[in-house]
Symmetry: C2
Subunit: 881 residues, 2 copies
């Protein structure tokens, strides 16, 4: 039986074979066919990985033979042979999944070395130090990755010898030092694995391939996939490639560069390199590397060739590239190219610039920027009007500013973050094992590592502020403190970092809100030309409304009115209204609230002048306006036991009685929303009057207010009918009083399953529907958001019961089915029905795409998410034709 083809030589593949060969393999193949200086090699497919995982961790039949055949072909091409005692071939074995997962899976370099070939390599290159350095690195890496010996055991030995030999950097170690280190390394392997370090190069290769397959399922790779929503069944390819050496001396080196600045998007080559080093030295942030521009001075020819290659690759791929290279004794090799991760600013600028340069179309530009990533640009920055003293400055690795408590440990950062504390994770450098701490931190600060270090890359990906390579900081994990000169800063103290400038500041600095830059404005204008969905905002104050308008909101989709009762000067009146014993007392309190509400609506309608402004009538249960029962009980008991004043006790007891009468076991499903309007119509009547009077007032001032009245939590047409009539009556009264004609649409939130199921009935008398997907998600899943998000949803995501938090990303299967039903039924009886969404999902790109697909008229989201929604809506229009 002929086995499946598992192995592709680089010249057999292409960029299109990404699924099979992984991103790295496809890139190497593509570059090979472009004639670029790629060391020869072959790729073992992702299919082989998946079969390995499925078949009880055995290599699929035929794979070993195919690897051997490919190896022979390599050997022939380069004139070296694996394990040869004269001219030994060395290989790199690197992972490479379809979607880049930087640093998450494993790599083995310098494979093929053993006690004998190391001597052959020394002889063949005439560079014993180089050969021994390679062997030292190989033992360390192979033992870590393949034999599961802790990496730190080797690092400790290395540090010990560096100290003993008074050597600061690895590359200063001399052959005799390296020999001693290697001997001790091998001893570690012997004692940990109870056998000698493997000497057979073919066996090394086979084991390394299996180890890379295994690394697909290591814990940090799983976490990364969960965070980045990468399916678990893709598998990784393995790239086996002839080694080239950046560590052959001062005329060798290795580096990483982006074809444009990944932080700003500026069209300049941006990167770093290290002389006399191997690839992992740059990424790991062990030595602080040199900026790429310096390569021009040190190796002008190699730099020139590299620059041309970068330009060629960017044009070829029509996107910003992230390119790894090695210079071996002056000769340039390209080891990898991939689409470069970038900040939102960079993504926007690069996309807009590329349109200007004629490289891509406007539509492509719109598709190039991840809407979620825009969150970054919309991040806060330091308030420059405030004086603050900069403690130290590092590299501006990921933009945005953040404040938080200093924490030195990822677990601690996670714990505090889950408790709702704001923390800044401070590390010498981060590793993929810190990822759970990064997730929960406000930002990251490291004292080592460059702009392409792990911390920088991951923080940029997450849109969190990061300052790295801040070498002025002396971080002491043990004493849990940072020393900067004379100054000591302890764990738990507050600091602020600014990832756009690299500044680190002691204490908390006020932050200011962002504005849209010129490029983003342009990109969003293109998006506006493309999208069919309207983008509204959820805003409750004139300030929010103005901000949202600046960000391009075309209306207010949800103006909540409950906060208006919560203000300090109003809460006592609202409480008096609730505590009222007679209708007169209640009316009196409402009478006082009316002008206040009117003022609120006046401000909001004025700020949104000319655009639709959807105002939701009171939604929460009335007990939310009363004090907490437990607190009240305790207060009363305390007063009683300590001889408190009896008038006060009886006042509190009165409130307690009312609070108990209103208390609910499940307030989410309680006496709230339109149920209040039905049972206490005077509250809604007051609110409607306030809206209508504010509208009349603005009209009289010559403005163009466009309020719409929204009834929450409707489950039947009867509710809406009663409340619609109540609204119309008040509107007519005010029309009568003012002589104005006021057209105010009246619609409803659709936020209960029953409302979706009966939307054909409800639609008959609604001017609009607005899907309240927060509550609809709660009722469809039977999840109380307050209780579920902190408690079992994280476990549900971990166990893959849920792909996402359904309160962040709309659940298309369940909630989405109801939304679709609601839209279709509603329009079946009312073809003119305007339909929007005002749950928080309105600002989530995947949910926006769904809203587009079911034909909503608009999405509504928080002001800061308006630009994201505009872009996402355009992408949805492009993707779903």
């Amino acid at each position: 039986m002929q086995s499946r083809k598992y192995v592709y030589l680089f010249n057999e593949g292409s960029a299109e074979m990404r699924d099979l060969l992984g991103g790295k393999g496809a890139g190497l193949a593509e570059m090979t066919s472009l004639g670029l200086p790629v060391p020869p090699g072959f790729t073992i497919t992702t299919e082989a990985c998946n079969e390995y995982s499925n078949e009880r961790k055995e290599l699929p039949a035929g794979l070993e033979e195919q690897i051997e055949d490919a190896l022979r072909s390599l050997e022939k091409k380069v004139g070296k042979t694996l394990g040869d005692l004269k001219n030994p071939l060395l290989l790199s074995v690197r992972s490479g999944a379809r979607i880049s997962m930087p640093g998450m899976m494993d790599t083995v370099l310098n494979l093929g070395l053993n006690d004998k070939t190391v001597q052959a390599l020394a002889a063949a290159t005439g560079n014993e130090r180089f050969a021994l350095d390679c062997y030292r690195r190989f033992i360390q890496m192979f033992s870590d990755i393949v034999l599961y010996v802790e990496f730190n055991r080797f690092e400790e030995v290395l540090e010990k010898f560096k100290a003993r030999f008074r050597v600061q950097y690895d590359h200063k170690l001399q052959p005799e030092h390296l020999k001693e280190i290697i001997a001790e390394y091998k001893e570690i392997v012997r004692s940990r694995t109870r056998s000698d370090f493997p000497q057979d190069p073919m066996n090394q290769l086979k084991k390394a391939v299996m180890a890379v397959f295994e690394s697909w399922n290591n814990p940090r790779a799983k976490v990364y996939r969960r965070l980045n929503k990468i399916p678990d069944d893709l598998g990784t390819a393995v790239n086996v490639q002839v080694m080239v050496f950046g560590n052959m001396g001062e005329n060798s080196g290795t580096g990483v560069a982006f074809t444009r600045d990944p932080a700003t998007g500026e069209n300049v080559l941006f990167g770093e390199y290290l002389i006399n080093a191997q690839g992992e030295d740059v990424v790991a942030g062990i030595r602080t590397p040199q900026p790429i521009s310096k390569l021009q001075e040190e190796m002008p020819e190699a730099y020139d060739q590299f620059q041309k290659t970068c330009s060629l690759l960017e044009k070829h791929y029509r996107d910003l590239q992230d390119i790894e290279f090695t210079v071996e004794e002056g000769k340039l090799y390209i080891l990898q190219t991939r689409s470069g991760k970038r900040t939102a600013t960079a993504a926007v600028k690069a996309a807009v610039d590329m349109v200007k340069e004629g490289l891509i179309s406007k539509e492509e530009a719109v598709l190039r920027v991840d809407p979620d990533q825009l969150n970054q640009v919309l991040h806060k920055r330091l308030d420059t009007k405030v004086q603050f003293q900069v403690l130290a400055t590092g590299l501006p690795a990921s933009p945005g500013a953040a404040s938080g408590m200093i924490t030195f440990d990822a677990n601690e950062a996670e714990r505090l973050g889950e408790d709702g504390e704001k923390v800044i994770l401070v590390r010498l450098e981060t590793t993929p094992d810190d990822i759970h701490g990064l997730v929960m931190a406000q930002g990251v600060l490291t004292s080592r590592g460059g702009m392409t270090s792990h911390a920088a890359v991951v923080a940029r990906g997450m849109g969190k502020p990061c300052v790295c390579g801040c070498e002025a900081l002396n971080i002491d994990y043990k004493e849990k403190k940072i020393t900067v000169g004379e100054q000591e800063i302890k764990e738990g103290e507050l600091i602020t970092i600014d990832g756009s400038t690299g500044q680190v500041i002691l204490g908390e600095v006020p932050l200011v809100s962002p504005e849209l830059g010129e490029e983003l404005q342009r990109l969003l204008t293109w998006a506006d030309e493309i999208r069919r969905l309207g983008v509204f905002t959820n805003a409750d104050t004139p300030a929010d409304v103005r901000r949202a308008r600046e960000f391009g909101a075309e209306g207010v989709g949800l103006c909540r009115t409950e906060h208006m009762f919560m203000a300090q000067d109003r809460l006592p009146i609202a409480q008096a209204m609730i505590m009222a014993k007679t209708q007169e007392e209640r009316d009196e309190a409402l009478e006082k609230l009316l002008p206040m509400q009117q003022e609120d609506f006046y401000g909001i309608l004025k700020a949104m002048d000319g655009l639709p402004t959807t105002i939701r009538l009171l939604d929460p249960p009335l007990h939310e306006f009363l004090p907490n029962i437990e607190d009240l009980s305790l207060e009363i008991m305390k007063l009683k036991l300590t001889g408190g004043e009896s008038g006060e006790i009886s006042r509190l007891e009165n409130i307690l009685r009312k609070a108990r009468a209103l208390q609910e076991l499940n307030p989410m499903l309680g006496h709230r929303g339109c149920r209040l309007g039905i049972t206490t119509p005077e509250i809604y009547a007051m609110q409607v009057r306030a809206i209508v009077q504010a509208t009349a007032q603005l009209k009289e001032e010559g403005l163009n207010p466009n309020p719409e009245i929204m009834i929450p939590l409707v489950m039947s047409i009867q509710e809406l009918k009663i409340l619609r009539e109540l609204c119309l009556e008040v509107i007519q009264q005010v029309e009568g009083e003012t002589g104005l004609k006021l057209e105010i649409p009246i619609g409803t939130m659709i936020e209960l399953p029953r409302a979706c199921l009966l939307a054909d009935q409800i639609g008959k008398i609604a001017d609009f529907f607005s899907f309240g997907t927060n509550d609809l998600t709660q009722t469809t899943f039977g999840f109380s958001r307050d209780d579920a998000e902190g408690k079992f949803i994280p476990q549900y995501i971990e166990k893959k019961i849920l792909a996402d938090n359904p309160f962040a990303v709309l659940d298309r299967d369940g909630v989405g089915k109801l939304v679709k039903m609601g839209v279709e039924l509603g329009r079946s009886t009312n073809p003119e029905l305007v339909v929007g969404i005002c749950g928080e999902h309105g600002g989530d790109p995947s949910s926006v795409e769904f809203c587009h697909s079911v034909g909503l008229n608009y999405v509504s989201c928080s002001p800061y998410r308006v630009p994201i929604a505009r872009l996402a809506a355009a992408q949805a229009a492009l993707r779903l034709k």
Copy 2:
């Protein structure tokens, strides 16, 4: 333009024209065509009533002319003329809707009398007392019904004169007395209405017809319709009929009788009559009437004719009839026949007997009994093993026994009942205005009135115990006490009444549960032959299981396991399990719970031997097993302020901390159901092991246990998959340990909208679905049952937003749509899927019908509802083809 036909002479109608002529009108027409002695008359249609209501309360065009024509026809037939001064015609004007609403709407008798015709009547009949009595009655009734003068004003006058003339009963009043009374009556009318009592008979007739139309919408009729789910748009017909007089002397009388005993169903004529009285005297319970058997002695001829008529009518209508008659000077007239209201016992016995008698088929018998009414038969009775002293004995008017606090006022009864207090409403007699109090009372006790009095009829309809006509009781509303001989009993004291024997007992008597009688057994056996739905039970204890089996349950559809943790000896262990700081501590507690749970399941499975027994794994959130947070806080503060013991304080603080950590804002939507199984699998594993070990134990004893494991609150296939695997693992372990092969189906509750929407996925790996319609109703409506039922649902029903409480009667439009979807989707991927329902709706006849219509396999309900469900299922099978 020819107007619609609004008026039908009795000989123009028939029994089939019930919608148009109302029940009474159709009956009169039918009896007329049968040749029975019905006084001639005509019926004004329900359409006329509806047009009157719709057309701003004006009689529809043409109606007056049609009434006049019909009247002329009557006059011709009887040779009397309305308003004639020699031979005046008198009329009765009576309401009559399609569905009988006894006593709810209005009637006017003796219409046509005025100051002159009363003299003519006296002359024509030679009976001045009779004529004056008629006029006295007419003024009183007409003024009450048509002129809205309070009835009591007249009663006061009547009582005053009766006292002055030392007369006990109305019919002992002499002409001179009556003249004085009439004079004072007219004076009342003059002072209240500012005009004289209307003298024009035609005008009287027109006004009376309008008043009857109006009475369709009087408050008590509306309440009655709401309670009995009668549509508001049916309208009432008006029957205008020539008066015959039961008050013409000692050879006259009036009465009501049932063709069979409406309490027991026994095939004997059952009824009451009053000599020298008009119809309303019997129903109002003013004089205690004579049993019908006595009529045989007093008026043998009339009795004989009446008995034959009854027999004829029952055969003709093939159902138990409730017949009103009047004897005028020895001549029998039939005034009404209708299907007789009866107790459940009577309904069952009559239906079964009629099958035996060859009158109806088994299917008809099954359709004859209202399943809801069976609740009565399944009512409790006094425990005869207990000694108790009977205070007094009245008429056994509605079966079943009940205890409660004495309350003399319907409003108070309602208020206390809503507060959850048990009350017995005690009245001299009840009127339709007391209906709201009757609804909330456990039972009714009156000192006046017979078996057909208002209290008796209404209580039987509601299935509440009623003792009436208990004349030994001296009820004093003012002093709020009852005096019996020497004994005084005050408001608020406890009494017990037994509506099956008429006994009234001071204090609370233990009650025992009912058994099915022989006739009901037979009827249910017929029902079982007809129905296609299985009937299971919800039962958590062996006692409940046994009871349900006796009542015909074919399996357990829901065995809840949470109560098992609540028992006094187990709660501390359950709490230790929850408070466990380590896995070991938790395992230790679970280890202790295992044998207890196993014993529980052993008992239940043994009791249900051979039948499927569906056990639901733990459902409520864990904090339900911990003390209340407020109580704990108060206890701690108290201990602290009063120098309590520090060890105890710290113990309580520990519990408080845990309770706070587990506290939820909306427990209904919280960390419960299968979510517990996912996050704390060891609890479910323990429960499953207990089930499986109990099963193995019973099998080894040679029994045939049939457990099924049910996973609650599933919202996705992934949850069910994980928990199904957990179950299977435990089953396999126990199989390995015991060597037995155990086939245990594993299914899930479908109680969240998302589970219905994704039932096609979930169905793939479920052996059965059981719709948990309680929770499904909560989430579909967004109603927390605990919060909604007491608070806004009653208002929603009153405002007709809801037709029924959706927790009692399944909401077909919303929840039903999801259930249907769930069934269809589930079976689409798993045609073998067994589907049932285990919400409380399983015992509600309307919901059972729905379950039949969507093709469920079974319903499951509380043990006492099993017979109801069996009957309802058979009726559904008969009704829906």
